[in-house]
C-alpha cells in the first residue's frame, strides 16, 4: 500500500538533516542544547507514533519507558565517573523491553478507552515505585554527574561532555531511528500493524494472530522510548519521578497528534513544534508576566487543535484515515 513517496520528501529531509548537521558549528550553546532536547523528543515521539499512528494503540503511559531508562542510567552509573555507553544503553533499553513485555501482556488484553486508562495507570505505578520505594531517590531524584562515554581500548570515542558531540550523536540516532522505522513499517510486520489499526477484526479473520503483533509493536515502541529517555537523562544530568508523570506522557502524545499521525516525519515536526511553542510561550522577554502561565495558552492551543484541526499540523494523507477502535454499545 505504501506508495512510492515522491522524491521531494527525501530531498527535504536530507536538506533539514544537513542544516542540523552544521548548526553546532555556528549556533549558540543555548540553541544547541535546545535542539538536542528537541531531537531527543523527536525520537520519543517517533516511538509513540509507531504505537498510536501505525498500530492504532493510544497509550497515555509512554513516559514509563522514557523514565525507566533514565532511572536505569542513574542507578547504574558510577557516582562521579562516566558510565559506559556500551553497557548502560543496552541495559536501559533492555529494561524497557522487559517492562513492555510484562505490562504489554496485561494492557493488551484491553482496547480503546480501557487501554488508554491502563497505560496511564501503569506509568503512574512506576512513578510511585520510584517516588516511594528505595529503588528511586524519592522525590528528590538522582543526579547523573558525568555524561556516558564510549570507550574502545583505553580511548574515549565520544566526548559527550562536549555539547556539539552530544548534539551530533543525538542527530545521528534520530536519523537512524527514522530510517529504521521506515524500513520496519514497509515490511510484512509493518503492514500488518497498519492493518491492525485500520481493521483489526478483519485482519484476525484473515488469520493474523494480532495480539502477538501488537505486543511486538508495544515492545519495540517502548524500547525506542527508552533510548530517548536514556539520552534525556544523560543530557539533563538528573532524573526524578516527574519524568514518569502524565505531563510527560501527555506531552509526547500531543507531539504525535500535532504532527499528524501515521507519518514518521510528522512525529519529528510535532516534537519541534510542541517544544518550540513551549519555549516561546514561556519566554519572559516576549510575554512578560504571562510567561509564568504559559500552560494556559498551551492548553487553549491544544483544545483548539482538538476541535478545529482533526488532522494535526501535517494533515494525514488519505492512506491512514483509519480510526481508533471504539467499544461496542457506545456509538
Amino acid at each position: 500500500m505504501n506508495p512510492k513517496r515522491a522524491w521531494t520528501l527525501p530531498v527535504v529531509l536530507l536538506a533539514c538533516l544537513s542544516v542540523l548537521a552544521v548548526f553546532p558549528l555556528v549556533g549558540e550553546t543555548f540553541y544547541i542544547q535546545l535542539l538536542t532536547k528537541v531531537m531527543i523528543m523527536a525520537i520519543f515521539a517517533m516511538s509513540l507514533d509507531l504505537l498510536v499512528g501505525y498500530t492504532g494503540l493510544v497509550s497515555l503511559g509512554h513516559a514509563a519507558f522514557y523514565g525507566l531508562a533514565g532511572y536505569v542510567l542513574a542507578r547504574v552509573a558510577p557516582q562521579y565517573a562516566a558510565a559506559s555507553l556500551w553497557t548502560t544503553l543496552p541495559l536501559a533499553m533492555g529494561a524497557c523491553a522487559v517492562f513492555a513485555l510484562l505490562t504489554g501482556l496485561l494492557v493488551l488484553r484491553t482496547s480503546g478507552v480501557y487501554f488508554i486508562m491502563v497505560t496511564l495507570a501503569f506509568a503512574q505505578m512506576l512513578f510511585f515505585v520510584f517516588h516511594d520505594t528505595p529503588i528511586g531517590g524519592g522525590s528528590d531524584g538522582i543526579y547523573v554527574y558525568a555524561k556516558p562515554e564510549l570507550k574502545i581500548g583505553g580511548t574515549n570515542l565520544l566526548n559527550l561532555e562536549d555539547r556539539k558531540v552530544f548534539f551530533w550523536l543525538v542527530l545521528g540516532l534520530m536519523a537512524a531511528v527514522y530510517l529504521f522505522l521506515r524500513r520496519v513499517l514497509d515490511s510484512n510486520f509493518g503492514r500488518a500493524l497498519i492493518g491492525i489499526k485500520t481493521n483489526e477484526h478483519r485482519l484476525r479473520a484473515l488469520g493474523f494472530p494480532t495480539f502477538r503483533y501488537k505486543l511486538a509493536s508495544y515492545m519495540l515502541s517502548g524500547t525506542l522510548a527508552g533510548l530517548a529517555g536514556y539520552l534525556a537523562a544523560a543530557q539533563f544530568g538528573f532524573v526524578n519521578p516527574e519524568i514518569l508523570g502524565w505531563h510527560t506522557s501527555g506531552g509526547v502524545l500531543m507531539m504525535v497528534i500535532l504532527g499528524g499521525m501515521g507519518s514518521l516525519h510528522g512525529a519529528i515536526v510535532g516534537a519541534f513544534a510542541f517544544i518550540l511553542l513551549q519555549e516561546a510561550l514561556s519566554n519572559q522577554a516576549w510575554f512578560g508576566p504571562f510567561a509564568k502561565h504559559w500552560q494556559l495558552a498551551m492548553g487553549l492551543f491544544i483544545i483548539a487543535v482538538a476541535l478545529l484541526l482533526p488532522r494535526g499540523l501535517m494533515g494525514i494523507s488519505g492512506l491512514f484515515a483509519g480510526k481508533v477502535k471504539r467499544e461496542p454499545g457506545v456509538e
Binding site: 500500500m1 506508495p3 524500513r183 520496519v184 514497509d186 515490511s187 510484512n188 510486520f189 509493518g190 503492514r191 500488518a192 492493518g195 485500520t198 481493521n199 477484526h201 478483519r202 485482519l203 484476525r204 479473520a205 484473515l206 488469520g207 493474523f208 494472530p209 494480532t210 503483533y213 511486538a216 488519505g318 492512506l319 491512514f320 484515515a321 483509519g322
Partner: protein, 259 residues
C-alpha cells in the same frame, strides 16, 4: 469425498434470554455448495460467526478435518486460529481495508499464509509468491483492472468482489460466504455465481443468500433456518417440494430478496 470436511453438530448460541441459533447441525463437503437460507433474523449470520470463530458457541461442536486429515474441534477457538486452519469467510457487511489499494487488500490477505513477520528489513512488496497469489485472486474475482485503486473508491459491487478476492487470497479449503450478492446488480451477480461455480470443485462452500435464483443455480444441498432452528435439509428439489418450507419461507418471496 464422502467424508465431510466440516461438520457442525447441534450448534447453539444464546445471548442472555435470546436463543439465536438452536441445535443446528450441517455438513460441508469439498466439491459441494451447501446453501443456508431463511428469513431475516433466522440466525444465519450468527451461525456463520459460530463456525468462523467470531462468536463462541454456547453448546455444540464443530468438527473439521485439515489437509493432513487431522481432526479439530473448532468450537471455542479464536477466529485467527480457525482462519489459519483453512476456513475463510466473507462478510455480509463489507469488511475490507478501505484506505488501502485493492491490491494491498489482497496482498495482506495472502501474507497471512506466509507471514514472515520477523523479516523487518525486507519490503513487503518484494515477495513474489505473495504478490502472485494476490494477483490471481483479484483476477478470479474479476478485479484485475482495479488493482491500483483505493478500496474506498470502488463501487459497492466491486467491494463485494474484493471481499471474496481477499477470502480467496488466504487459500482456504472451506469458504463461508455470507450474502456475497447483497446489493449487486444482475450482471455482477452473474459474475459471482460463475465464480462460485468455478471454485466449487476444489472447495467446500457454505453459502448464505437471499437471492433464490443464485441459490438454486449453485447449491447441492440446502438448509432452511427459521428462528434459529433448522426446519428442513435436503437437495434443491426436496426443498422446493417441501410444504414446510413453502409455508415458512419461500411462498411469495421466491426470487425476491428480503421479502
Amino acid at each position: 469425498m464422502s467424508e465431510a470436511i466440516l461438520r457442525a453438530e447441534r450448534l447453539t448460541k444464546r445471548f442472555g434470554g435470546l436463543t439465536a441459533v438452536s441445535e443446528v447441525s450441517l455438513e460441508l463437503h469439498v466439491g459441494q455448495v451447501h446453501a443456508v437460507i431463511g428469513p431475516n433474523g433466522a440466525g444465519k449470520s450468527t451461525l456463520t460467526n459460530l463456525i468462523s470463530g467470531d462468536l463462541p458457541p454456547t453448546a455444540g461442536a464443530i468438527h473439521f478435518l485439515d489437509e493432513a486429515q487431522l481432526a479439530h474441534d473448532l468450537s471455542g477457538l479464536k477466529s485467527d486460529r480457525i482462519a489459519r486452519l483453512g476456513i475463510g469467510r466473507s462478510y455480509q457487511k463489507t469488511n475490507i481495508f478501505l484506505p488501502f489499494s485493492v491490491f494491498e487488500n489482497c496482498r495482506l490477505a495472502a501474507q497471512s499464509r506466509q507471514p514472515r513477520a520477523w523479516r523487518i528489513f525486507r519490503s513487503a512488496d518484494r515477495y513474489a509468491d505473495v504478490n502472485a497469489i494476490a494477483e490471481r485472486s483479484l483476477q478470479a474475482a474479476g478485479l484485475g483492472a482495479r488493482s491500483a485503486m483505493t478500496a474506498a473508491a470502488l463501487s459497492h459491487g466491486e467491494q463485494r468482489q474484493l471481499e471474496i478476492a481477499m477470502c480467496l487470497a488466504t487459500q482456504p479449503r472451506v469458504l463461508l460466504l455470507d450474502e456475497p450478492l447483497a446489493g449487486m446488480g444482475s450482471q455482477e451477480s452473474q459474475r459471482i455465481i460463475e465464480l462460485i461455480q468455478q471454485l466449487t470443485p476444489a472447495h467446500a462452500i457454505m453459502l448464505i443468500e437471499h437471492d433464490m435464483d443464485a441459490v438454486f443455480a449453485v447449491a447441492h444441498r440446502l438448509t432452511v433456518m427459521v428462528n434459529g432452528e433448522v426446519i428442513e435439509t435436503g437437495t434443491p428439489a426436496e426443498i422446493r417440494a417441501s410444504l414446510k418450507v413453502q409455508q415458512a419461507y419461500l411462498g411469495d418471496a421466491h426470487g425476491g430478496a428480503d421479502g
